[in-house]
């Protein structure tokens, strides 16, 4: 039987761009280019490796986001995912993590799954809670923050490197997995992959398809509210000295003045 893998990905504003907030205190997506979250590339990569090790597997890449989020799906398809699902609905604007997990969980159930693979966090919100939220909503095991992962005989195993210990984990499928940036370099799409991606199916779903009411998501339905967002004042220019043999001493002088020594 085919192993059905769903990879959740996010389309995020480029971190090297000038990111800011829109008037409604949601992330402004108009002024900065978007892309597939770098940390989700690791998730796509691990899904591809799991598929390559399996007899028969299929990868669906799933995103919730505006029209442009299609770019993130295309990138994942060009890396080698088989098909895509795009949940897009005007009422989703301003949805927070809990709302997003609700939408993703419904879309995952509709798609059908044995394994859900996520990145460790998005590169914009950086909360890192979505995999746990999905495990709770889907009522399946979470095998998260893995730097190594493999799937065999209906089980997923992996290594989680924590602050105080390194743990070897094991769970029966279906399960939610999240992988860290230590799991292995993500491959670059080949020219052939990019061409093939254009022909792969992208299914579009809206809230009605997922039987979610508009007031359960979006800015109004959010479980959290941003009340204020202020740009951090630029740091005042510091002292910069050129080392001409005395740099270490000068620095020590500065640190002593600040009472660090």
């Amino acid at each position: 039987m085919s192993l059905r893998i769903v990879v959740c990905v996010k389309y995020v504003p480029d971190a090297t761009g000038d990111r800011h907030f829109a008037e409604d205190l949601t992330v402004d997506r108009d002024d900065v280019d978007g892309l597939l979250s770098e940390l989700d590339e690791y998730a796509v990569e691990q899904a591809l490796q799991i598929k390559e090790a399996a007899d028969d597997a299929e990868i669906t890449v799933l995103t919730v986001g505006p029209e442009d989020a299609n770019d993130a799906l295309r990138k994942a398809l060009s890396m080698g995912a088989d098909k895509a699902v795009h949940v897009e609905d005007d009422d989703l604007h301003g949805t927070d993590a809990l709302g997003t997990s609700l939408v993703l969980a419904k879309a995952i159930e509709k798609t059908g799954y044995d394994l859900v693979v996520c990145g460790m966090a998005s590169t914009d919100g950086t909360m890192g809670v979505l995999p746990a939220l999905l495990a709770e909503r889907l009522n399946i095991p979470q095998v998260t923050q893995l730097s190594e992962v493999s799937v065999a005989d209906g089980k997923v195993t992996g290594r989680r490197d924590g602050d105080t210990a390194s743990e070897q984990l094991e769970a029966a499928l279906p399960a939610v997995v999240s992988v860290t940036d230590q799991s292995g370099e993500a491959r670059y799409p080949s020219f052939k992959g990019i061409m093939a991606a254009k022909k792969k199916p992208v299914e579009s779903l809206d809230l009605e398809d997922l039987e979610i009411e508009a007031d359960e998501v979006g800015l109004e339905g959010a479980w959290t509210k941003v009340e204020d967002a202020a740009e951090r004042p630029a740091r005042t220019a510091g002292t910069i000295v050129k080392d001409e043999g005395e740099g270490g001493k000068q620095l020590a002088e500065f640190l002593a003045g600040q009472k660090f020594i």
Binding site: G238, G248, F260
Partner: protein, 320 residues
């Protein structure tokens, strides 16, 4: 006064500093009730009481160590049901965030992660966060349910505030569905004797400019002279020069020490995301155009192999 649940992060009853910070912040919004899961609650209770815990709800079950996260969510939910708190606070560790997230779903509440400050507000606690690589400061609150908030280490100075800290046993039933992810084996991290990276008051980090694992002792020597933790940039970690657990940045640890010293680090946005809220920032780099110099309070343009050892010697001399 409303009670506030504080999830205790500890190693065998030795309470870690971020929990004491949580107790300090919890007192701004109510009466802290600590939740201690695992062994040695009595030992922990002494420290928790000194920092304001009016009560310590304690539970120990083998499932906490045998399975990942979910049994602890069952226990925290039991504490939530017992207390009906005004808020639930957890440390912003990977596990703290995951426990908080799952509890939030169960109790139908919103969650805020990585708060750097917390204050009482008319409509519940208001959390300050530092976002977009610390280029913005936001204030948020949970608008549905009981606020679940995770707080970053070093967000408050722990204050002593003696309270009763009476230990009460918490009855916990671990659901079968919470036994899904088995912890097959556990290898404790070897202690370096240096302070924990996220908790340290001073962090000394090395980057690409360190140019090899064999040169990291130069960074370590400076760290040791200052009693600091050692960090590394992603470039240094990806090159295999230093362990990932020491990585500072977006995909590693986010640190906010009193003093951050970056040696041989150019300051890419991913690194800045993890250290930009440090109180005082110092950089040593050969390249005077390196973006890190835009952030510094004090910068030295120079070869780190000249400057760092000279600084280390000077620190040792001055400290006697």
């Amino acid at each position: 006064m409303a009670e506030v649940l504080v999830y205790v992060d500890h190693v065998d009853g030795a309470v870690r500093k971020p929990t004491l910070e949580l107790l300090t912040l919890a007192r701004r919004i109510g009466e802290p009730v600590a939740v201690h899961l695992g062994p040695h609650a009595d030992e922990a209770a002494k420290v928790l009481a000194e920092h304001g815990a009016v009560k310590v709800l304690a539970a120990d079950a083998p499932e906490f160590a045998e399975y990942l996260v979910a049994p602890k969510v069952d226990a925290l939910q039991a504490a939530y049901d017992a207390v009906s708190p005004a808020a639930v606070l957890l440390p912003s560790s990977a596990e703290g965030k995951e426990i908080g997230a799952r509890l939030a779903v169960r109790i139908g509440s919103g969650i805020i992660t990585d708060a750097v400050d917390l204050e009482a507000g008319d409509e519940g606690p208001v959390a300050t966060q530092s976002v977009f690589a610390a280029s913005y400061t936001t204030k948020s609150r949970v608008s549905k349910g009981t606020p679940v908030i995770t707080v970053k280490p070093n967000s408050a100075a722990p204050e002593a505030a003696p309270a009763a800290g009476t230990v009460e046993q918490l009855a916990v039933t671990v659901a079968d569905s919470s036994k899904g992810t088995k912890i097959v084996s556990r290898t404790p991290r070897e202690s370096t004797g240096r302070p924990d990276l996220t908790e340290a008051a001073i962090v000394v980090s090395g980057g690409r400019g360190v140019n090899g694992a064999e040169n990291f002792p130069v960074i370590e020597a400076l760290a040791d002279s200052l009693g600091a933790a050692v960090g590394a940039s992603r470039a240094a970690v990806d090159a295999g020069w230093y362990p990932h657990t020491n990585q500072v940045g977006q995909t590693g640890k986010s640190v906010s020490p009193q003093l951050y010293i970056a040696a041989g680090i150019s300051g890419a946005i991913q690194h800045r995301a993890g250290m930009q809220t440090s109180k005082t920032i110092v950089a040593i780099n050969k390249d005077e155009e390196a973006p890190i110099f835009d952030l510094v309070d004090y910068g030295v343009v120079g070869d780190l192999f000249e400057v760092v050892p000279a600084l280390t010697d000077e620190v040792k001399t001055r400290k006697g």
